[in-house]
């Protein structure tokens, strides 16, 4: 009797795989499954010590007048696997010779073919693509995407599992592949580490979707039953596998990824079932330093009751650490889609110019690859794949904003409609519940939505409810309004923005907080806080704070830093322009002229600094803003100096001459930047 190297279960002689965990016993370990690593030694003796039989197809064999065998890759759960060339499509494929047992059982074969047809629909970067089923000399052949790499069970481990970042990355990819298959209605039924291939670039692909039937045939089992060590309790009891069964198997894989150990194993189905029916094992009991979020999601996946498991693999991915950074991924996904579009356009141009020659097969491969990537990006992140799509997206954003404002207005008028009919206690309750409920709605919608249009609407509505809350409560009790209203609303909008990465709400929140700062300054100067914006200097200081924050605070959300910087610049530089021309706006107890000159000097200095900083850091928005400020200050000075005494034609001629000079100077600056960039890219 041999022992399985993976689960230590006893394996009767003659069985090609461990009955408990499905580990291949005779063939090279890396070739356990369909798309085995072609680097594995096909003739090596297995760990069980049984010499492997020689491959049945010599190199060069042509099957079905289409597939030429290039090399034996290994022997897996479904028979022999070869690296082959599809001479018709001129591409390398993994060729699997399905077990003869299948060909002898028409009912089971029909079921398998039906499964393969469904599995072919799944096109995803994290799913190994199934191409076709062919028949040669009475044997059924299955062709799949050839993946050069190794399966997950063979990745080098360390105590406590893989490197956490690498493990989270792989876990995400497996979740994405599984989610894509489930979306197409394809259940794996036999998900296990050896069915996850990791290629040379570190991309994980789930293999063998729909092939549990074939694997079972090889093992001589009953209808598609999977591998006991990775089966859910319901599968072990003989019930039909569902998506929840795959989630259970996913939980077991994650357990192994993060702890380096197998969860709930046993030497027999009964023992495994008994363990699976108990309380789910805790990964942190093995790896105490594991992130609590991983512990929570793995334990959820391993619930004996299928209804208590996460409803989708996508939710499992979202629950992993950093899972909420969806907008980062979304921005990256859109960039990828844009790059593909640009590449296609440029390739077409190069081919038209005769600079690039591509064979039809190569072009088809590239197109197919890009098509798969784009479909996945659309599926996962709802990216725009065309200019028209982008325009529509912009329209959607505007419409969602209008919708949110209309919802807020509707809530406002509804409140006013019932305002006189309810007691103060009821008013307080309604006003408090509205923002809390809309925050909850934002959280629920945000967790389910890909595009975030509805999330943004819900968040804007929540903000409107909060504004109504603090305003109308004050009205109910005839309380004086204070700047704290601005603080509350500003914090609320900013928290919503950070929670769900919403730029418009961040802008709103920061403006409210800047107004709060200005109001405090106005109060300190003895003025009425609500009229703080009439004093540019009140705004100047909060603007400077925002600008300083933009250099030290680097939010992870895309575009947030830019909002800090742009708002900071607007709130600093616009008051400077105003004060440089109209000194009477100032709080300072100085003469108007003195104030104007001081702010002119400050303004020119700040604009020059902004241009310098923008060019140095390649921050276009900073450089542009500095240039605009400089020109505005300069023209205001022209008006100051020359308008009254100079003939108007001469005045405008000088303005035009200066503008021409500025265009020449900026153009040279741009050319210098472009040449630097072009040079650095070569």
């Amino acid at each position: 009797m041999r022992r399985c190297r993976r689960c230590s279960a006893e394996v009767p002689a003659g069985l090609p795989a461990c009955p408990a965990c499905g580990e291949t016993m005779a063939a090279p370990a890396a070739a356990t499954e369909v798309v085995a690593d072609h680097g594995a030694a096909p003739d090596a003796a297995g760990p069980g010590g049984v010499a492997a039989p020689p491959p049945s197809l010599p190199n060069g064999t042509v099957l079905a007048e289409r597939f030429r065998v290039l090399a034996f890759a290994g022997r897996g759960g479904m028979g022999e696997v070869y690296r082959a060339a599809d001479v018709k499509l001129d591409q390398v494929v993994a060729l699997k010779c399905l077990p003869e047992a299948l060909s002898r059982d028409p009912e089971r074969l029909a079921r398998l073919l039906q499964e393969v047809r469904i599995a072919r629909r799944v096109s995803h970067p994290n799913v190994c693509r199934v191409y076709d089923v062919a028949e040669a000399d009475g044997r059924h052949l299955l062709t799949m995407e050839w993946i050069s790499g190794t399966d997950l069970s063979m990745l080098p481990r360390r105590p406590g599992g893989l490197d956490p970042e690498r493990a989270v990355d792989l876990a995400r990819q497996i979740c994405a592949g599984l989610a894509a298959a489930h979306d197409q209605g394809v259940i794996h039924r036999d998900l296990k580490p050896s069915n996850v291939m990791v290629d040379e670039r570190g991309v994980a692909r789930v293999t063998d979707f729909g092939l549990a039937e074939a694997a079972t045939a090889v093992r001589g089992g009953r209808a598609a039953e999977g591998t006991p060590a990775y089966m859910s309790p319901e599968q072990l009891r003989g019930h039909e596998a569902t998506g929840a069964s795959d989630i259970y198997a996913l939980g077991l894989i994650l357990f192994e990824l993060f702890t380096g150990e197998q969860a709930g194993g046993g030497s027999s189905r009964e023992e495994i079932l008994a363990r699976r029916s108990e309380h789910p094992p805790s990964p942190r009991a093995i790896a105490p330093g594991l992130h609590p979020a991983i512990e929570r999601i793995v334990v959820r996946c391993l619930q004996a009751d299928p209804s208590r498991r996460p409803p989708s693999a996508r939710e499992v991915a979202a629950a992993l650490p950093g899972g909420e950074r969806r907008s980062d991924a979304l921005a990256a996904a859109q960039q990828r889609a844009d790059r593909i579009a640009a590449f296609r356009d440029e390739l077409a141009e190069l081919r038209r110019a005769g600079l690039v020659e591509l064979r039809e097969g190569e072009l088809a491969q590239i197109d197919a690859f890009h098509g798969r990537v784009l479909r996945d990006l659309v599926e996962r992140y709802d990216v725009d794949t065309s200019d028209r799509g982008k325009q529509l997206s912009l329209g959607l954003r505007l419409v969602s904003l209008v919708g949110a404002l209309a919802f807020a207005a509707s809530a406002f008028f509804l409140l006013y409609r019932i305002w006189g009919l309810i007691t103060p206690a009821a008013r307080v309750a309604i006003l408090a519940v509205a923002p809390i409920a809309s925050v909850a709605a934002t959280a629920v919608i945000g967790a389910r939505e890909r595009s975030r249009y509805f999330t943004a609407m819900a968040a804007m509505f929540a903000f409107a409810c909060m504004t109504l809350n603090v305003t109308l409560l004050g009205v109910t009790f005839s309380l004086q309004s204070t700047p704290l209203t601005l603080l509350g609303c500003g914090l609320f909008a900013t928290l919503l923005a950070y929670g769900w990465r919403l730029k418009l709400l961040l802008t709103t929140g920061l403006l409210a907080l800047a107004w709060f700062g200005a109001a405090l300054i106005q109060q300190a100067a003895g003025g009425y806080w609500a009229e703080a914006l009439a004093y540019p200097e009140s705004v100047l200081i909060p603007g400077a704070v925002l600008l300083a924050l933009s250099f030290v605070h680097r939010p992870a959300a895309p575009g947030f830093s830019l909002i800090y910087r742009l708002l900071g610049m607007v709130l600093v530089l616009v008051p400077m322009v105003l004060l440089a021309h109209w000194g009477w706006f100032s709080y300072l107890p100085l003469g108007e002229r003195t104030i104007e000159v001081a702010y002119q000097v400050l303004g020119f200095g700040a604009s020059a600094a902004a241009i310098w900083l923008g060019v140095r850091d390649r921050a276009r928005e900073v450089a542009y803003f500095g240039a605009v400020l400089f020109i505005v200050l300069l023209y205001l000075k022209f008006v100051d100096w020359m308008w009254d005494w100079m003939p108007k034609y001469l005045f405008f001629l000088i303005v035009a001459a200066v503008a021409t000079g500025a265009v020449v100077a900026l153009n040279r600056l741009r050319a210098a930047l472009d040449s630097t960039r072009a040079g650095s890219s070569q």
């Binding site: 006013y416 409609r417 409560l473 009790f477 005839s478 004086q480 509350g488 009477w584």
Partner: protein, 305 residues
């Protein structure tokens, strides 16, 4: 992050609401700072019906301005509403409130810019039906007497005199008698100067400036008073007592009606129809304690306290 954000957001709502309710409770705790019984003259209802709102608030009227309905008529007739001058709000008082007063006569443009944008929050003392209002009324009566004398002499036309007569009748029956008599930054000091809590109330307000250009004289800056908490919510339990006095006309209907009149007449004076007991709390913030409709058969003007 999102879970934390949700809890922080909910916490923020709860903290804000608890703070607002606590401030309201604090204002209304203990004995009120003062209680006044006012009439429709001082606490007016909206002049138009708002179809979109069932809420009801009364508006605390400051006697230095005519009633809202008169202001609207004056605006439609093209004559700016006449504001009662607050002689006590002189340069010394304005300087004490933090305003700049050291203007030279040649600084008219700068004075105008300053007056147009600078406002200072302050506590304002309102006197109900006291000597200030009596003086104001006496001034208007003297003005009318002068106009009548000039009419006899042929120096003014009869329409001008008729206008003054109509406005005086309105001032006697409809104008608020809550006259601003003092302002300062320290409400306790103001209360110490005006201890009669049945006649004087201290309220949060805003002192604004305007440039006065009297004919034949140098322009000068003068102050005026705005009340910060003018609209006071009427609680649900008292709302029905005012239901019969609410306007039947919406703003659209009123404007349509006014458009048909080339020169709208001054409103016909009406006696106040209700009394409102108004309390001011520790934070000088008011609330409606009671509302009593005035018996229609009563011919006398309701007393104020």
């Amino acid at each position: 992050m999102r879970r934390r954000a949700v809890w922080l957001l909910i916490g923020l709502v709860v903290v804000a609401d608890v703070a607002i309710v606590a401030l309201a409770a604090l204002n209304r705790s203990g004995a009120p700072e003062c209680v006044l019984t006012l009439t429709e003259r001082e606490l007016s209802l909206p002049i138009y019906r708002d179809e979109d709102s069932t809420g009801l608030a009364v508006t605390l009227a400051n006697a230095s301005m005519p009633p809202p309905v008169v202001r609207r008529t004056a605006w439609r007739r093209g004559t700016p509403p006449r504001r009662a001058e607050l002689t006590w709000l002189d340069d010394a008082r304005l300087a004490a409130l933090g305003f700049r007063t050291d203007w030279s006569d040649s600084d008219t443009a700068a004075m105008e810019r300053y007056a147009g944008r600078v406002a200072r929050p302050a506590f304002v003392v309102l006197e109900q039906d006291g000597a200030a209002f009596t003086r104001f009324l006496a001034g208007r009566e003297a003005e009318l007497a002068q106009a009548r004398a000039r009419l006899v002499a042929g120096a003014v036309d009869a329409a001008e005199v008729a206008d003054l007569e109509a406005l005086l009748a309105i001032d006697r029956t409809m104008r608020s008698r809550l006259f601003p008599v003092d302002a300062g930054r320290d409400p306790r000091a103001l209360r110490a100067r005006y201890p009669d809590r049945g006649r004087y109330c201290v309220v949060p307000g805003l002192i604004r400036l305007e440039l006065d250009r009297p004919s034949g004289q140098e322009p000068r800056i003068r102050g005026r008073v705005e009340l910060l908490l003018a609209d006071i919510d009427v609680p649900l339990r008292l709302r029905s007592r005012l239901a019969g006095f609410l306007p039947g006309e919406t703003a659209d209907e009123g404007i349509a009606r006014e458009r048909k009149q080339e020169k709208p007449p001054w409103p016909t004076p009406v006696q106040p129809r209700y009394l409102v007991k108004l309390a001011f709390g520790r934070s000088y913030e008011p609330w409606v304690v009671d509302v009593t409709p005035v018996d229609a058969s009563g011919s006398s003007d309701p007393v104020s306290h």
